[in-house]
């Protein structure tokens, strides 16, 4: 490991600390899969390590269509004929007779004993084990390669709002999930529309907007686009690039009816959604923006994002938007955005946002990314 950094893929449990399904690369490159029913293993990783793209060098050996390692829930897979070359039906029957049913059992058992008791060739077993390990475990990448890959695949999308860009350290990073939380009327939908306008107009790329609140107004988007296009002749037919931004407004509107009470599935569904979003962001190199509601903390009275602590580990960046509490009373306290969680900037940074209701009159210049 030349760069001295070992990144660990934490699979299956987005909370970041896991006792199950974790593979750690040791110094000799040996991989050890941990059985979830065995003793717990707490790898020494920094909390909140992001997902690692898993560039398996043995891509050609992957025969089973679903065995993308980032999707598999570890090695809890039943041994089946055709899982890899060399694993025949009779082999499976013999292994099953010796109580080896899953990949984990196979990989963690002593092959010499297995060869003796099942009367199978040791070489064949070793070959099968190598293939299974390649398919089902994660490979450690060294930091330098990871950095190179991130540099080539990550893009920074401007949000269309210069102060928000400053807060987010130049914009939205692809491969990450960003959350915008705020009270009703604080401007979340407006910020989402402005991101959609700036990405589709400025970068000429597709934007996927998933609306679960009914707040998407096409005429407002049209207003914003008109304000950004300074030169009407610029509206030329251009081929749009690939999808780079996925906006979900809002994720709590559909998840909060499922949480709480005696329903046991709400949390599982929420975590499944979280996993899908993170995988989407990482594998397809898109920036995922979600909108969340706020609830009032019962003890301090402060506003915090909804959906609880489990959801708070999902986005890597969280911005809290605030509008005016009582609009007809004193002064025009403008909309502000406060950074609640970020991997790059100090938290607690606060900027003023200009939601820009007179967007038709004012000409908003295209911002150069700093």
């Amino acid at each position: 490991m030349a760069a001295g950094v070992v990144w660990v893929a934490l699979k299956g449990h987005p909370l970041g600390v896991t006792r199950h399904h974790c593979s750690v690369g040791g110094p000799m490159g040996m991989l050890r899969a941990v059985c979830p029913h065995g003793p717990p293993w707490y790898p020494r990783v920094r909390y909140g390590t992001p997902w690692v793209p898993i560039p398996s060098p043995h891509r050609s050996l992957r025969f089973h269509p679903r065995s993308a390692p980032s999707h598999s829930a570890g090695a809890m897979v039943v041994l089946r004929a055709g899982l890899c070359p060399g694993l025949t039906e009779e082999m499976i029957q013999l292994l099953r007779a010796n109580n080896i049913r899953t990949v984990v059992d196979f990989v963690s058992s002593d092959l010499e004993d297995v060869a003796q008791s099942c009367s199978l060739s040791y070489k064949a077993l070793v070959a099968v084990r190598r293939v299974l390990l390649a398919q089902f475990s994660a490979f450690p990448t060294n930091g330098a390669d990871l950095y190179e890959e991130l540099k080539s695949s990550t893009a920074i999308l401007p949000t269309g709002n210069p102060s928000l860009d400053q807060l987010l350290d130049a914009g939205l990073y692809t491969g990450e999930v960003t959350e915008l939380a705020g009270a009703p009327g604080s401007g979340k939908t407006q910020v989402c529309l402005s991101i959609a306008a700036s990405v589709s107009l400025g970068l000429r790329q597709h934007v996927f907007f998933l609306d679960s609140t009914g707040g998407f107004t096409a005429s407002r988007l049209y207003q914003m686009l008109q304000a950004r296009v300074e030169d009407k002749e610029e509206q030329v037919e251009s081929s749009a690039g690939p999808l780079k931004a996925v906006l979900i407004d809002s994720v709590s509107a559909v998840l909060s009816p499922l949480l709480g009470g005696r329903q046991s599935e709400g949390l599982a569904i929420m975590m499944q959604l979280a996993r899908e979003l993170k995988t989407l962001a990482k594998e397809f190199s898109v920036a995922v923006v979600v909108t969340n509601q706020v609830t009032r903390d019962s003890s301090t009275g402060a506003l915090k994002s909804a959906l609880g602590r489990s959801w708070s580990f999902v986005p890597s960046t969280r911005v809290l938007l605030q509008g005016r509490a009582v609009p007809w009373e004193d002064g025009a306290a403008p909309h502000t955005a406060c950074l609640a969680k970020s991997p790059r900037q100090p938290t607690g940074m606060q900027v003023q946002l200009d939601i820009g209701s007179d967007a038709v009159q004012e000409q908003r210049p295209v911002t150069p990314t700093p």
């Binding site: 679903r66 039943v78 407006q190 107004t217 709480g260």
Partner: protein
Amino acid sequence: MQRDVGSLPLSPALRARLLAAGFQTAQELLETGPCGLSKEIGISREEALEALQVVRQECAGDAAKTAGGSGSTRKCTALELLEEEQTQGFIITFCSALDNILGGGVQLTKITEICGAPGVGKTQLCMQLAVDVQIPECFGGVAGEAVFIDTEGSFMVDRAADIATACVRHCQLIAEAHQEEDHLQALETFSLESILSHIYYFRCRDYIELLAQVYLLPDFLSEHSKVRLVVIDGIAFPFRHDFEDLSLRTRLLNGLAQQLIIIANDHKSAVVLTNQMTTRFGQNQSMLVPALGESWGHAATVRLIFHWDNTQRLATLYKSPSQKESTIPYNITDKGDQNHSWYSRDLQIPALTSGLPRCAASTCHPKCRRY
């Protein structure tokens, strides 16, 4: 076919067993077959058969959706939405200033919430809207019917009759001024009886009845497809008194909000809700805020707050996706012989597009485009 086992609609115990046995996608389940499944998990063959049936149905449904069938999630481009919005009408409120800050009136397919202290005029506006939604298209209306769900018992039929009479009279004045064929034709069907007969009134006494009514509403709306407005007068009332479990209340309200969004979108109707006000204690002062908590604030797309300033009633647009925040004064008037039942005296009518003569009523809504 690559669908995760965790997302299939099976019972949680069965799902846990499947995951423990190592099944991950729906395809693996289907490949194993009922006998293999029952042996591996330890359930009876019938249960395995049932489970596989469910899985097969789900996969067939998914295939139909991806093949372009219209599922419950609607996919379209922003340009298509823009074209739809531009052809959509608004429900006018007969108060020109209010319609201006709303961008033309109450928008269809959106949820509008009206909050205010008692006596400020929320039910009046709801009754006005229930009448205005029925204005024929040649007069600038949407020609739809209305559903009125009342939880507080504040719907007064005689007041609705007054409003309807004033509205009919207003349309008659327009028709007299312009003597066009379609106006006179529309007027024949637009009378007090027809207006009142197209307001469908439901009375709900507690939150269970209200929830049941809202969840049954899609069936009602598919029978009466001309409904363009659903009013729920008093959504706070059944949820505020006698409710011990606050987290249950939040969940019920969130589910209700989603159901209303579905109704608004599928049937292209406007949903109008009225809410009460409650006091919140800040650091050093207390203020009046809409009731039902923070999470309910996200249910409505447009929020109007009515409040008093000494003796003047004011309306503030607090939350809107396309209009900016503003406050206007308004009045509620009795019916008069030539006046409308509700109009604003304090703001000027925006500039008229052509030099057509004004009608006898001194202030008239610009949406009646003959003026």
